[in-house]
């Protein structure tokens, strides 16, 4: 049995601070199962009244982009300012956006 078999799996924790805001990644922790991950997240990440909702996701289940592909993935968007919706005149009637 390898050392990793003795370790609790890693969970990524997402917390929603207030109603209406998105869940944000706050960090990770170890827990034996999903329910324990929620309890641990409650104790580790919401002890200063930070949250109204917790998501826990097994770190293994997150598919991440490869840092090595940064160039091909993101650089092409650098030179395309016209993709920002900043070239429109907004009518006064619209008010605050």
């Amino acid at each position: 049995m390898s050392a990793a078999d003795h370790e609790w799996p890693l969970w990524e924790i997402f917390i929603r601070g207030q109603h209406g805001l998105n869940h944000r990644h706050v960090g990770s922790l170890h827990a034996a199962d999903a329910e324990a991950a929620i309890r641990n997240a409650r104790d580790v990440y919401t002890r200063r009244n930070e949250g109204v909702s917790i998501w826990a996701v097994r770190a293994d289940d997150i598919v991440a982009s490869s840092p090595g592909k940064k160039g091909p993935l993101y650089e092409p968007a650098n030179s395309k300012v016209y993709r920002h919706p900043t070239f429109f005149d907004i009518p006064d009637d619209v008010g605050a956006m």
Binding site: H30, E35, A36, R39, V44
Partner: protein, 252 residues
Amino acid sequence: MAADPLFELLLRMGDNTLILAQRLSQWCGHGPTLEEDIALANIALDLTGHTQLWLGLAGEVEGAGRDADGLAFHRDVWDFRNTLLVEQPNGDFGQTIMRQYLFDAWHVLQLEALRESSNPQVAEIAEKAIKEVSYHQERSSETVIGLGDGTEESHARMQAALDLLLPYVGEFFANDAVDEIMKEAGIAPLPDSLRSAFDEQITPVMQAATLTVPDTDFAHSGGKSGRQHSEHLGHILPQMQWLQRAYPDASW
């Protein structure tokens, strides 16, 4: 009777939470994992918060000018009214969790009953505390199950913890003269009236944890009456009180 029974009841509540909080805080920085370490510290802080309320009210009821700090830091062993269970040593992590679960299971029932107290201040404190204590019970019961129904070693440690600590449970449910007066006044439940609900709470948890509840009615006593604490309380108090005793009324 020497003291006001309401004062005695409030000391029992506040001393239980105070001594258990002190015990749990001894884990701070020593927990088996970061997550368990911080969870135990959180529970200790919750219980310390309850202590301030219970002992604060006890001081008001006594009317002798002592506040929560005065009662916590300037009394000696024979004045404490906590049950023997909460002063028992932490042992291994399993023993700490078993002690916690047995306490939580009683604590939830006691606070549920105190929410209906005829004394509005008692009811208010119970109302505030029970949300935190319900979470304590959720956490400790699931951990008892996880460790009891875990590896051969964790199971053996949890069974040993249960065998060791169960004889300290009976004290929570033994009525005495203070309890009778509090029941009469509608302030607190009779301790033995909570016993069947307690058994209903722990039986399925122990089953899920594959643990065998020892078949014994033997119960240590002497803590809540102050008649005879275990030797352990005498070691807890100097550590907890030395600063206030060396520098009375020190604050920061």
